[in-house]
């Protein structure tokens, strides 16, 4: 599945440039965002594999904190210029300088992309446990009910569900149900 990449950067030239460089390396679905508030709003309902963010967007401390909470599993790359001070630099997985040369940029990107959980899961089938959780989801059980039925914690259920969605590319319960029936994991007549 294509990597989901968000580029938060007001400069048109930079956006286009970053997106072009990324598309040379991998298949990506790119979303462009101009303001931090808008990015936070986007992340409330969407997940991203990568966020490239211009550090100049991070001046509002409140919005910055919200962003670091919302980023989830996204790898965050700071886009810097000549600025010496990078706010909250410990939150970044990597830093790209807009004046860097090709041989500096490409290895950074390749390293980052190789590390994504999605790449590690590439072509991976669902594990036995994940299949078990998927069946329960498709049968309409809630996370807590699944935890009780499979004798695992609710937290573990949620983590299995994240992996299932990332492996299958299907997010919603109804979508997962269709998948489960199409693959004969559960009989159709057991669906409500």
């Amino acid at each position: 599945m294509a990597q989901h990449i968000v580029i938060a950067e007001p400069s048109y030239l930079m956006k286009r440039g970053i997106s072009a460089v990324i598309s040379d390396i991998l298949q990506a679905e790119v979303v462009f965002i101009d303001e931090l508030e808008e990015l936070n709003h986007y992340l409330e309902t969407n997940t991203a594999d990568f966020v490239f963010i211009d550090v100049r967007l991070l001046h509002s401390k409140d919005q910055r904190e919200i962003f670091f909470q919302l980023r989830g599993n996204a790898r965050v790359v700071a886009l810097t210029g000549k600025d010496k001070n990078i706010p909250a630099s410990r939150h970044f997985h990597d830093i790209m300088n807009r004046y860097a040369s090709k041989e500096e940029i490409i290895p950074v990107l390749e390293k980052l992309l190789a590390e994504t959980p999605e790449n590690k899961n590439k072509n991976a089938l669902l594990s036995e446990r994940e299949t078990e959780v998927l069946k329960q989801v498709a049968l309409g059980y809630t996370n807590q009910q699944i935890a009780d039925r499979l004798f695992i914690s609710r937290h573990t259920v949620i983590s299995h569900r994240k992996n299932i969605t990332s492996k299958l590319g299907i997010k919603t319960v109804s979508g997962l149900t269709v998948y489960a029936v199409l693959n004969n994991l559960i009989p159709r007549d057991q669906i409500e």
Partner: protein, 246 residues
């Protein structure tokens, strides 16, 4: 024209379609119909009494995801934006949803053996269709009238909470519905692309997929207009009203 080129007042309307045929329904929403000869965008807009600047921003934003002049778009009258969004609703209801349903049924009908499970896709879509219709209706009954009402009153006589509850609008419910509508569309595409059992007709399946890609693109554009233009406008008016009354 290449992808990065912007449509301008002087662009020939015919060239706009050559550049990106997905803009056809967008142009139709402005009431504009084919047969423009060599007329420019400006001439066609004048003929159909369409606001040129708004037309250009909508068309360019639809065509090029990196184009979205926020401040400029936030300055358009709310009624203008709502009117455009209502036309997209009509398009979903009258065209996209029924056609997609037909394509799903054609696809399922093309299956000759062991077709029972394929029915799941049909059920999934029927449910989706209802959810999207409900979402559109809730926007028309709650969200749009609430924004429009707030833009019309200069001074609040009632408390903001009262007005909001009169229109029964909830930010959370609205954003949840949005997410649901977009996620399910993505799921449907992935189920068909990745997991469709092999017994189906290629051409019918491709038709459905082309259609779903167009549908998804349009939904995302619709969502972007609401999330980036309308909702912030709404929050701003709410804040102003609270300051005035407080």
């Amino acid at each position: 024209m290449t992808q990065q080129q912007l449509v301008t007042a002087g662009t020939k309307m015919a060239d706009v379609i050559h550049m990106n045929h997905l803009l056809l329904p967008v142009i139709n929403r402005f009431g504009i119909r084919l047969g423009f000869g060599d007329q420019t965008v400006e001439e066609v807009c004048a003929q159909y009494d369409v606001n040129l600047s708004f037309f250009l921003d909508i068309v360019n934003a639809y065509h090029d995801e990196t184009y979205f002049p926020r401040e400029k778009m936030r300055a358009y009258p709310v009624d203008m934006i709502v009117d455009y969004l209502l036309k997209t609703h009509d398009f979903y209801r009258q065209k996209m949803l029924p056609e997609t349903q037909q394509l799903v049924e054609d696809l399922i009908g093309s299956c000759s053996t062991d077709c029972d499970n394929l029915g799941m896709i049909k059920d999934f879509f029927s449910k989706y269709k209802k959810e999207l219709e409900n979402h559109l209706r809730s926007e028309e009954e709650h969200f749009f009238p609430y924004v429009q009402a707030l833009t019309r009153i200069g001074q609040v006589s009632q408390g903001l909470e009262e007005i909001r509850s009169a229109y029964n609008f909830s930010y959370d419910a609205h954003s949840e519905e949005h997410e649901n509508v977009v996620s399910k569309m993505l799921d449907l595409k992935n189920i068909i692309i990745k997991y469709l059992p092999p017994d189906y007709d290629n051409a019918l399946c491709n038709n459905l997929l082309y259609w779903l890609f167009i549908f998804e693109k349009d939904l995302k554009d619709h969502e972007r207009l609401e999330d980036i233009i309308l909702l912030p406008a709404l929050r701003k008016i709410e804040q102003q009203l609270m300051q005035n009354s407080g």
